[in-house]
Each structure stands twice: as C-alpha cells, then as structure tokens.
C-alpha cells in the first residue's frame, strides 16, 4: 500500500509539473491533433499530377489526341512543351518535370502499324513516381476518333519507357540522398536550439550579455561549429550510401557543397529561432520534433510530393527539407549543377535571411 501511495505521489507531482509547462502541455495536444489531420489527408501513395513535358516531333493531330488521353488519366500534369528531346532531358535534370513524353516524327506510320506510339523519358529516381508512369506504358489508347472501329489495332504496349537515373528501380537510390535532409534537419535544428537554450538555462547567458559581445557575434560563433558537423554528416551518409548501397553520384562536388551549405544555413537559422522561443531544452527538443515529422512525411522523402493534396504541398513548400530533397536528389542522382537548381537554392537562402532577422530581433541583449 505504501508503495502505491509513493507511486501516486510521483504521478501527481509529474502531472502538476506537466500542466505548468505550457509548451509541453500544448505539444501533448497539438502534436497528435495537427499531425493526424495533416498526414491523414496528406499521405497518399497513389501518385497523381506528376509534372511532365511533351515533345511532339511529328506535328500530327494524333499526338494531341494521345496527349489528351494521357492527361485525362490524371496521373500526369502537362506543364511544358519542348521542341527537342534534349530540352526535355535538361528539364528533367533540373527537376522541372519528372518525365517527358516524346512523339517521334514517324508517328502516323507507328499508329497504323500498331507499334508503340511514343517514348517516355522518366526520372526513375523516385520509385513510386517511376511506377506510376510505368503503369501508363500499357494504357489502352483510342485512336482515330471518327474513323471506323478497328481501323487501329494495338498489338503491344502503347509506349516505350526509358527509366533514367535508377534503371533497376532500387529504393535506396532515392532514399539515401533524402536521408541527408532528414538527418540534417534533426541534428542541425536540435543542436543549435538546445545549445543556446542550455546557455540560458545554466545562466551563462546572463553573464555573457554583460560583456561586450554582440548578439550576432554570439550567434554566429555558436553556429559555425555546426556547419562542420553538418558537412561531416553529409559526407558520411553519401559516402556510405555509395559504398554500401551503390547509390550513384552523378553531380559535381562543388554543387553538392553549395546546396548542402544552403540547407545547413536554413536549418541552423531555424534552430536559432527556436532557441529564442523555447525556455527549456525539453521545449526546444519538442519544437524540433514538431518540425521533424512533417519534414519526414511531407517533404517528398517518404511519399512523392505530387501525391499530396495542394494544401499539404503548400506546407511542404514552407519546409526547408522539401527544397533540399529536391536539390540533393538533383545533384546526386540526376547530375544537376547548382546553376540549374537556382529557385530552390534561392528559397533556402531567403528562408535563412528571414529566420536570422527574426531570431536576432527576438534575441535582445537583456533579460526583459
């Protein structure tokens, strides 16, 4: 009986403390609520609206009819038209489209002889997207609307498919570069937020702010070591990924360094902002996790970005991890150079600047 009373005493004390820590208490309710709603609606393994380009070398009306039939499947979303397959390939490398449908010059001849009518050039690095597009290979085509029935008979698959970047369709190829984003999100945000909150909790900050050090000096000084931590982590993940999982490395090291540094900067500045909000290390950790879960589930790491509803895509766009996953897959798997990926890099740098500005404003050199 005494033992039960003591357990009860500890439980009661714990509940009292929990109810007083408003951030923790909020997290207890908010994490399941928001995350459930978000992911219940957002997670969808049926991929739709994959952005593709069309290259029509035939100039024939049949190309438009076939294109329209591909479009109504809703699997793809035609976002661009190019004149040459080379342009389409460049767009795939730059990550503007996931695939391109190319109609050859001899399209009519192929239609009449029942040969595949076009070729899909597919970015196969994401196996889920690749599978969705592969499924189109045998889609039935209705040609010659208005022509007598039986004027066109399919004998084989409707399209040929060329899977780029991951022809064996191995998941590791796509997962390993994405994992750098997840691990960096976790460590960079958590390390920085905790490192600063710890100084406040231990009273170090009270002393430091009476010294001539400026807030910005203090912050930059605290962040620099973590830049190296981040670079070491990326090296380990990609190095081991290459050695153990045979993940190809198509890009240039300089581009890899640029996109990685942009993401490290964004994550560190986010951690800095958290450190100005969180009062305890526990709170800093919880806020990090609050950001980490969507970074895993919505960023395109686990499920293709295209499979999510538009609202979830907006949330994903706000997460640095989404942009970095695009960047690092572009560099590592598709051999894209930093100059081809400017929008996402620019986004990360803008994000860094905004976070740093808010964090510096919030972190005043006083205890008020």
């Amino acid at each position: 009986m005494n033992s039960l009373r003591r357990i009860g005493a500890v439980t009661g004390k714990e509940l009292t403390q929990l109810s007083r820590d408003r951030v923790t208490f909020g997290m207890v309710v908010m994490i399941p609520l928001i995350q459930l709603l978000l992911f219940g609606f957002a997670i969808n393994t049926v991929v739709r609206n994959i952005p593709i380009a069309v290259v029509d070398l035939s100039g024939n009306a049949a190309a438009r009819i076939i294109t329209e039939q591909v479009r109504v499947t809703q699997v793809v979303d035609i976002v661009a038209y190019y004149d040459t397959p080379a342009q389409a390939e460049a767009a795939i490398v730059a990550g503007k489209v996931r695939a391109a449908l190319v109609f050859p010059q001899n399209l009519m001849q192929r239609v009449t002889s029942g040969q595949p009518v076009g070729q899909w050039l597919v970015d196969g690095s994401d196996t889920m997207v690749g599978s969705a597009l592969l499924a189109l290979r045998t889609m039935p085509l209705l040609l010659g609307a208005g022509a007598p029935p039986g004027a066109y008979q399919m004998t084989g698959p409707s399209f040929e498919v060329a899977l780029f970047f991951n022809p064996e369709r191995r998941s590791a190829v796509n997962v390993v570069p994405g994992l750098t984003a997840i691990i960096l999100t976790m460590t960079m945000i958590m390390f920085t937020s905790i490192a600063l909150v710890r100084e406040r909790e231990h009273g170090n900050l009270e002393l430091l702010i009476t010294t001539p050090i400026h807030s910005l000096e203090l912050m930059i000084g605290k962040l620099i070591p973590y830049v190296f931590v981040g670079l070491i982590q990326v090296t380990i993940i990609l190095g081991l990924g290459h050695l153990v999982f045979q993940v190809p490395f198509q890009g240039e090291l300089a581009s890899l360094a640029i996109v990685t540094l942009a993401f490290i900067a964004a994550s560190l500045s986010l951690g800095l902002l958290i450190s100005t909000i969180a009062q305890t290390q526990m709170q800093a950790m919880q806020m990090t996790f609050f950001l980490l879960i969507p970074s895993i589930l919505l960023s395109g790491f686990m499920f293709p970005y295209e499979a999510m509803p538009v609202a979830a895509q907006y949330i994903a766009e706000a997460l640095p991890a989404t942009h970095f996953i695009r960047l690092i897959r572009g560099v590592v798997l598709r051999g894209a150079s930093a100059s081809q990926l400017l929008p996402d890099i620019f986004w990360l740098l803008t994000f860094t600047l905004i976070m740093l500005t808010i964090a510096t404003k919030r972190f005043r050199k006083s205890l008020d």
């Binding site: 231990h202 009273g203 900050l205 009270e206 002393l207 009476t210 010294t211 001539p212 050090i213 050199k365």
Partner: protein
C-alpha cells in the same frame, strides 16, 4: 568627493502586477564597497540587473560612470564586471579554459591576455586548479574563479550579486580580503548580501525590503542611531518574559539569543532600562543596555522584521 560612480533616481521595476523595485534613490561613491542588505525578494538582484543594463527600468533614471543606462549600456560593458547570483560559467570547461574564453570575449588577446589570466590564477589561488573542471570545484573555489573572471578586464565598477551565499565562513573571509584589495585599487564594488557580518564590512550600506530602500548610511552610523534602544534581559524563564515583553506597546521586537533576551524598543522611549524594569517588575531579571548590532538596525528599519 568626486562624482558618484552610480546614481539612480526613483528607480522602479514592475514584473506584471508585482512591484519588485519601488522608487529607489541611490548614490554610490567611487572606490567604495557598497552593500545591499535585504532578505530574498527585497529587490537586490533586480536593482543590480537594472544598474548593469540587463533589465530596463519601468521608471526612473540610472547613470553608471556618467553613462545613461540602459541607453548607453553597450559603452559600459568594458567598464563593469558582474558576478551573477547563480554560477554562470561553463561547468564543462576547466578553470583555465573558462578564463581564456572570457578574456577573449573582453578583447584581451595574445600574450597580454595570457599574462592577465596567469596573474589572476595566481592572485586568486587557482594555479593548482587550472585544469580542474568547473563542475568539480567547491563553492568557494567557483566563487574565486567567478571573481577572477569578473575582474579580467580590470573593471571600474564591480557588481556582485550575493557572491558568497554558497561559501563557508573561512572562504568568505578570504573573499572579502580580495574585495578590499580591489577597493583599495580604486574599484567601486556593489555587493548584495543577506549576511549581517558581510554587510558590516561594507563602507556604506542600503537596507532593502520588498523593493523599498528603508535606510542607508555607514554601518557604524546606522548602528549608532539605535543607541539606547537595545537592551539585554537575562534571568529565568525567558520564554515567558519574551511573550510578556512583546505585549508592551513600546517594544518593537524581542529575540532570544542564548541566555539573553534581546529587546529593541521604539525610538520614543527615553530610558529603555528604566521603562522595561518598571513594566516587567520582576527582580529576578537583569536588564542592561547593550551595543546595537546590524541585525538590530535591520529589524528596526524593516516592517517585516518587527518580530511581532
């Protein structure tokens, strides 16, 4: 007398509905050790934080070394040293690492910085402890290190917030020796404490209670003001005598100290011994006049200390 090192006028600070400091006026002369004596929650820490620009006053003016605070706080940083109430150095750094880190923050570089650190390690008896982690040091050692660090850049004004609250009496005495050395060298020292013996060592003293400055002056002057108001009663059954004494309208407080009952009377009593003798009418009691202590001053000048 030169310009005071610290001047505050109607200094006030609210935290929400709580008034932590209420209209305090201060004038702290250069080169003196000035004490803040008061219980916990009397506003000592809040005043110190406002004086070094860590907290913005709700109302009132502060100037330290002629600089307006908090507006010119940044210019003051190099001229002040601050020792926080809670140990605020790095537990997971050694003594030498902590000192070198702070020396660089204060802009002491290269050989000059190293020489300064060595000098202070020696002066504060930390040479043997230089490679000891701060976490593994005793309360007294930590305070010596904190003082060494607060004086790294030879500040003109030192703020020490209850520096010896976790220190044994012997180390406390050593610590105060160092403070007098600094004071002799011209440093103005503002030190808060709730120890009477420490307060007595200060050149001047301010008695604080619930954010109000109750009294200030030199310890001797403050004690002299109470002359003829403090008596000691010895004899049998002092517990009962105490109850009896406390019922008298002219008695402000009574506290037993060993075999004596120490009684503080209100200022309007002309002859304390005669008054008490007449009121108690107990020939077994021996009633004598005694020298007032700082504790008597504290009790006499605070509302909460009446003992009634």
């Amino acid at each position: 007398m030169t310009e005071p090192a610290i001047r505050a006028h109607q200094l006030t600070r609210h935290f929400g509905d709580v008034i932590a400091v209420a209209g305090v006026d201060l004038e702290i002369p250069s080169g003196q050790i000035y004490g803040f004596l008061g219980p916990n929650g009397s506003g000592k820490t809040t005043i110190i934080r406002m004086l070094c620009g860590l907290l913005t006053p709700t109302a009132g003016d502060v100037s330290v070394l002629g600089l307006k605070i908090p507006a010119e706080a940044e210019a003051l940083r190099l001229k002040i040293g601050y020792m926080t109430q809670k140990f605020s150095l790095y537990d997971d750094l050694t003594v030498a690492e902590n000192m070198h880190f702070m020396a660089k923050i204060y802009g002491l570089r290269g050989t000059q910085g190293r020489a300064r650190v060595e000098h202070l390690l020696d002066r504060y008896g930390l040479l043997a402890l230089r490679d000891r982690m701060a976490a593994a040091m005793s309360g007294g050692q930590r305070q010596r290190m904190a003082l060494a660090i607060a004086t790294l850049h030879s500040p003109t004004v030192l703020f020490l917030d209850e520096p010896t609250s976790a220190v044994d009496p012997e180390n406390r005495r050593d610590f105060w020796e160092k403070l007098f050395d600094l004071s002799d060298a011209g440093t103005t020292i503002l030190v808060s404490t709730h120890y009477m013996d420490e307060a007595e060592r200060c050149h001047q003293l301010a008695i604080l209670e619930t954010g109000h400055l109750r009294k200030h002056g030199t310890p001797t002057a403050l004690m002299n003001e109470l002359r003829a108001r403090v008596v000691e009663i010895s004899g049998p059954e002092l517990r009962q005598v105490k109850q009896q004494v406390l019922r008298l309208p002219q008695v402000q407080s009574a506290a037993q100290q060993g075999l004596q009952l120490r009684v503080l009377l209100r200022p309007d009593v002309v002859n304390a011994v005669q008054y008490l003798g007449g009121q108690l009418a107990n020939s077994a009691l021996d009633i004598t006049m005694t020298r007032p202590s700082l504790e008597d001053v504290f009790v006499a000048s605070t509302v909460g200390g009446t003992g009634k």
